[in-house]
Symmetry: C2
Subunit: 92 residues, 2 copies
DNA sequence: CCGCTGTCATGCCGAAACAGCATTGGACGC
DNA sequence: GCGTCCAATGCTGTTTCGGCATGACAGCGG
């Protein structure tokens, strides 16, 4: 599991569509599709239902989405916190 | 930035020693050293002071450590939540 | 019923990332 | 100054990864 996979998952969950999510992430559809498959494989459960017209979140996917968003914002907060500490320490 | 890098950072922060952290992660010293350097490069600030006898956390590193631990436990929680949802949905 | 379209999955290949080995460079204690 | 211990770096073989081309399948119109 990597942060890239989590970002991919969130994008697909929000778009319900691998192709659109791929464009949003400046990626192509195949690797993105593989990210989702890898995630499902690692978690041992499918996260999406493949509808033939896109992807729909399953309950397990909804549950994961909550945590996924929290992880990504925590990463963002970590980056900003470090920048803040460094910036303040050097200020007059 | 990847979850692997964050795990490496936490291990080094706790051991104050790249070699020991490497053993703990079943890894060797050079890649682990590079993980830390990559993290510092990405954050734009050093996280450790190199003491010639090991590594000591700088203030920026302490700040990052708090978030790093939270990220890792959130990932853990995400995995367990998905397993829980799947397990319960199939129970009688 | 049959092709047409739109979607995700897969086979394949070249490029990039990665881990480990060997070595260097530097700090500390004697 | 010398030996020891540490992190950093050069290098190489392997693995991972992204993109292209294609396959497999569902849904729709005729």
């Amino acid at each position: 599991m990597s942060l890239t996979h989590i970002q991919s998952f969130v994008a697909v969950a929000e778009e319900c569509h691998v192709g659109r999510a791929a464009r949003r992430l400046h990626l192509t559809q195949p690797p993105l599709s593989r990210h989702i498959l890898a995630l499902e494989d690692e978690l041992g459960a499918p996260l999406f239902e493949r509808t033939g017209r896109g992807m729909r979140l399953l309950p397990a996917g909804e549950a994961f989405l909550v945590h996924a968003r929290r992880i990504l914002s925590e990463v963002d907060a970590a980056v900003h916190t470090v920048r803040g500490v460094v910036g303040n320490s050097g200020e007059s």
